[in-house]
Symmetry: C2
Subunit: 305 residues, 2 copies
């Protein structure tokens, strides 16, 4: 059966903006549950400045505690050389780097031009690879930027080509604000796949408008087999009512099921991990399919299956 | 610009199972608001037995009150000859007929075999057309039946061919329980489009698993330009928490926007109509994109746009 390779990002992209501080031991418990559910690629932490992202201040402990999880390829986000030093010092096997595809997004977030931000990312990528560390290279706001609007696909393609040429494991094209529709996904992938093989490209969707599953399907149709997802759809800003996070892992596992693609994920165990995360955050979590999944497992339990 | 033809089914498929009884005047008010938002095809009522579906007991008054709405093509559901008589007597311009694609679904719902149910539908279709009335012919549970499981696409194709051969305006393929994924939509449409032109096929999705938009996109990609939708996603069983109704009209209008397809629908006015319907039902309504749409219109209002 054809495989769909999911990278679980709830522990990093999902948790980083949550207002409830999660204890390191609880993060490790969540990571174990996600791994036990069959998620074998997990972005577990971020080596951002602890002042900027206090929720990720324990990145070293999280990586140290989780990097020997059986069968799991662990990664962590690094924004710059300082982050990379921290990641390497605690034995992070794969790091993720980020460059936003627009000038304004880089200026407002890290006070660099696009060229400066690209140079920093390439420096981090080069040093990580020299140290024998794997790399996922994110291209953020690849479809639409909150400051500049629609993004020129040519810029995304050129950034992706440069990172791919350095030999990164995966270039991850991120719809950071969840503004793409499936037609945009198909269009950008047509451009990307004319110069890069599908095996080197991952897609990272947010579900702000409820288009996450449709976008994932469009990517699969284009030949992509690497998708990021967040258990329970954790992410986004918890203070903005209705602000959705990443596309939910359970939604993509169910999509894969209906598409004849194997993920290796046990949905029942995944729902348990989502409920555990919900307990930590003090609210009910779940992707678009969760109400239906809960009924499915409840009726299976009633039937003694 | 390429057109996406939406048939609005909230007044029928959306309201028919709601526990709150809606007054005829309020239904007519809702119909006016939907029409004013640019929805030009509306399934407004059902001529089902008033005992079986009390919410639709005022079908005559609804059709009589709405059939002269400017620019609107009005239709109403008829389950049998008695329903057709009622529909014709009050001047319904187009009726919808239904046959479920499986034996068990017909047996349990109307105590007929599939052949008997097909014969009744063909009789209704023939008489409606003789009377100069338009017809939409639904094939229900076209993907999966709650009693029989996955449905043989060959049966759906044969039913669709028979109805199309009679000259109906549109054969509507319905995922009644919301069990299809986009791969199933693509597969069934490949089979259907080998014998029927895309212009004669409509698709009717429910959003039970959050796959409504992905399925609609798969249908559009296959060449389909007729989709049913329900404003606010009204429908389903209001007593089952999380049971979703039809795919929401606002979600499909937004999908069309991102796909370069024209619907003629003003999203801001549509959100107003959804909120009016929410007031009638006493709960907040809205499709998957609604939180984002509310923010879009709120910030547009702040900016004085």
């Amino acid at each position: 059966m054809d495989q769909l390779l999911l990278t679980e990002v709830a522990p990093r992209d999902g948790l980083q903006n949550q207002p409830v501080r999660i204890a390191t031991a609880d993060k490790l418990d969540l990571l174990s549950r996600l791994a036990a559910a069959g998620l074998t690629r997990i972005e577990a932490a971020s080596f951002a400045s602890p002042r900027a992202v206090p929720q990720m201040a324990d990145a070293e402990e999280v990586v140290a505690g989780a990097r020997h999880l059986d069968g799991v390829a662990l990664s962590a986000l690094t924004m710059n050389l300082r982050g990379l030093e921290r990641a390497l010092a605690c034995g992070t096997p794969q790091v993720a780097t980020v460059v936003a595809a627009t000038g304004q997004m880089n200026l407002r977030n890290i006070n660099m031009t696009l060229d400066q931000a690209t140079a920093v990312a390439m420096d981090v990528i080069g040093r990580a690879m020299q140290a024998g560390c794997g790399v996922r290279a994110y291209v953020a706001v690849a479809f639409e930027c909150p400051f500049e609007g629609p993004v020129d696909p040519g810029i995304v393609v050129r950034l992706a080509e440069r990172f791919a040429a350095m030999g990164v494991d995966e270039v991850v094209i991120a719809d950071t604000i969840g503004a793409a529709g499936p037609a945009q996904v198909t269009g950008l992938l047509r451009a990307l796949l004319s110069s890069l093989p599908a095996e080197r490209i991952g897609m990272h969707f947010h579900d702000t408008r409820g288009f996450g599953v449709a976008n994932a399907h469009a990517a699969i149709e284009a030949g992509i087999r690497r998708l990021d997802a967040s258990a329970g759809g954790i992410g986004g800003c918890p203070f903005a009512p209705g602000a959705a996070g990443n596309v939910a892992t359970e939604d993509l596992v169910l999509l894969a099921e209906t598409s004849g693609l194997a993920t290796g994920v046990d949905l029942h165990a995944l729902v348990g991990a989502v409920d555990f995360a919900g307990g930590l955050l003090g609210r009910e979590l779940g992707g678009r399919a969760m109400p239906w999944l809960r009924r499915r497992f409840a009726s299976a339990a009633r039937d003694g299956r």
